[in-house]
Symmetry: C2
Subunit: 326 residues, 2 copies
């Protein structure tokens, strides 16, 4: 574990423990099978980044109530629901080193438990008694499903450019981070300026997080990743490292890359060749640079708040986005 | 069209037109593909029974606002979302005589458009500004997904009894009817007694509706039904006609029925033989009788309200449940 991660974990230990207890406590379905399937994805070593963001953002706005930890888990339920559905859609085999839910319980149960978690998230959000918060939470799911559909509909299409890629990752990933921070501000009844600042922090963090995620698929290996490396490419998902390299490549190398992308059964050799080209044409460096810019924007948004232990943690979380290996 | 249906349609024509306009107006996704897939299921000749119930129940409670028709479509979106997911789960081929969505757009897009519709339903419910209503609507989805999982987990299991069958159909079907009526009462700010009466009407109507639906699978043919007759049996779903007949049958015929149920590739001859046994052992008559009892309970609940054109329509709708052919 690196220093930054250790420092963050030290500072948020109590929060994470409280979030974990709420996650356990509120998963009370009518059927044991639902608990089993939902538990498989919920308690498999997730980082709890989204609930943690909400709790920290509420603290930054001097929230004095006691519903922040409970409410925060609605975001983890939403996240888990999308993981269940996305793993099925992507025909993934592993998630965090474990077999995916649909390989154990089948597609039908997995789809329905995802639906249950989506609904449970909204029920918990309704517990805030705040209509604006509920609109944020239902808006998150509307956007995430559309982001995924958008990505699917452009599978393997080399004409996908950076603008469209940004739109996809904003919807499918950043909206949830943004919504966590925005709804924390709403929960704390914060001033509009502070809510906007928090939202900007969340949105930029989310974009950096997804860009880092897209990098990892080309820079990590299966063991560290807990899922197959090269998964994005195998699914025809063109991400920024590829988009940027395709843009910069000469026509000969562009054709080589296109041929590898077009073949879902590419060999390990092909994959290594592609990684070489992503490096050679600056696709990896460009993505790293863009992620860094969004981390800077996230940290800049925090300048709205007086420095405190909480701003330190949120700044550290932003920096940590760039250090992730899995 | 029979007389009762014609009479109902004559009385609710304006409401149905207004509901249809709202359905069109509020389906405004970011992507054309989402509109296309959602439109395929939403505009394929659905009866709009759930939104209609909500509009009528609100009128019965003297609702004076203008959000009833808009809010009512959230129930049709929920319903459409579950149809998209259920058809995929059941590996259905036809719905209302048309190919199911997943056979046209694939599983991934169908799952995600279902998720989008679930979220859109909650966003529209949030538009009421009423937290209690939002809890009812998110509770509906929690229950429906669990009802479906419950049914799935007992597939082909001959030990399923009437009590458990009732629990399944309450969750998977009646909760939505009950929720439509309850949330209409909440929207109209009605007295608790009236809200409870409306909920009882909805719940009983829903149970009768599902029992009638389960009967139809054994009494109608593919052309009238718009989907394959015998679908429940093929999916291993044991419904009340079968449960009651199994209970009444002698051990020889019970074994015959069990053998047909155990074989998902049963022949048309097998199916006809089973139908004969359901008739002989009173499974069809028993189910019809139970559905009739719930229609009576639904109508009895309406006695809380002064008779009016609206109570007449709601009574007619309850009666019509028993006359459905598809």
């Amino acid at each position: 574990m690196n220093d930054l991660k250790a420092r963050i974990l030290g500072l948020v230990e109590k929060d994470l423990t409280a979030i974990e207890a709420e996650l356990e406590h509120h998963l009370n379905p009518h059927l044991d099978l639902v608990r089993e399937v939902a538990g498989h994805i919920l308690f498999s070593g997730g980082k709890r980044l989204r609930p943690l963001l909400l709790v920290l953002a509420a603290r930054l706005c001097d929230y004095r109530g006691d519903y922040d930890k409970t409410f925060s888990i609605s975001l983890e339920y939403l996240h888990a629901a999308t993981l269940l559905h996305d793993d099925l859609i992507d025909e993934a085999e592993l998630r965090r080193g474990k077999p995916v839910a649909h390989s154990i319980w089948g597609n039908a149960t997995t789809i329905l438990v995802g639906d249950f978690l989506l609904a449970r998230a909204l029920s918990i959000a309704a517990g805030t008694g705040n209509i604006e918060i509920i609109k944020v939470v239902s808006g998150i799911t509307e956007n995430m499903s559309q982001g995924e559909i958008h990505q699917l509909s452009r599978k393997g299409d080399l004409s996908l450019d950076e603008t469209e890629y940004r739109e996809v990752i904003w919807r499918k990933t950043a909206v949830l981070f943004e919504g966590a921070c925005r709804s924390a501000g709403l929960l704390a009844n914060a001033d509009p300026d502070r809510i906007e600042a928090l939202s900007a922090y969340g949105a930029n963090l989310g974009i950096a997080f997804q860009m880092a995620d897209d990098l990892i698929d080309y820079t990590s290996d299966t063991q560290v990743l807990g899922k197959k490396a090269g998964a994005d490419l195998r699914e025809g998902k063109l991400t920024l490292p590829v988009i940027a390299a395709l843009e910069a490549a000469d026509s000969h190398d562009r054709k080589r890359m296109a041929a590898i992308i077009a073949n879902p059964d590419f060999s390990l050799e092909d994959f290594e060749a592609l990684k070489g080209l992503l490096d050679q044409y600056g696709g990896l460096a460009y993505t790293r640079q863009k992620a860094r810019e969004h981390v800077m924007l996230a940290k800049k948004a925090l300048a709205e708040f007086t420095p405190s232990e909480t701003t330190t943690i949120l700044n550290d979380l932003a920096d940590f986005t760039l250090q992730r290996r899995a």
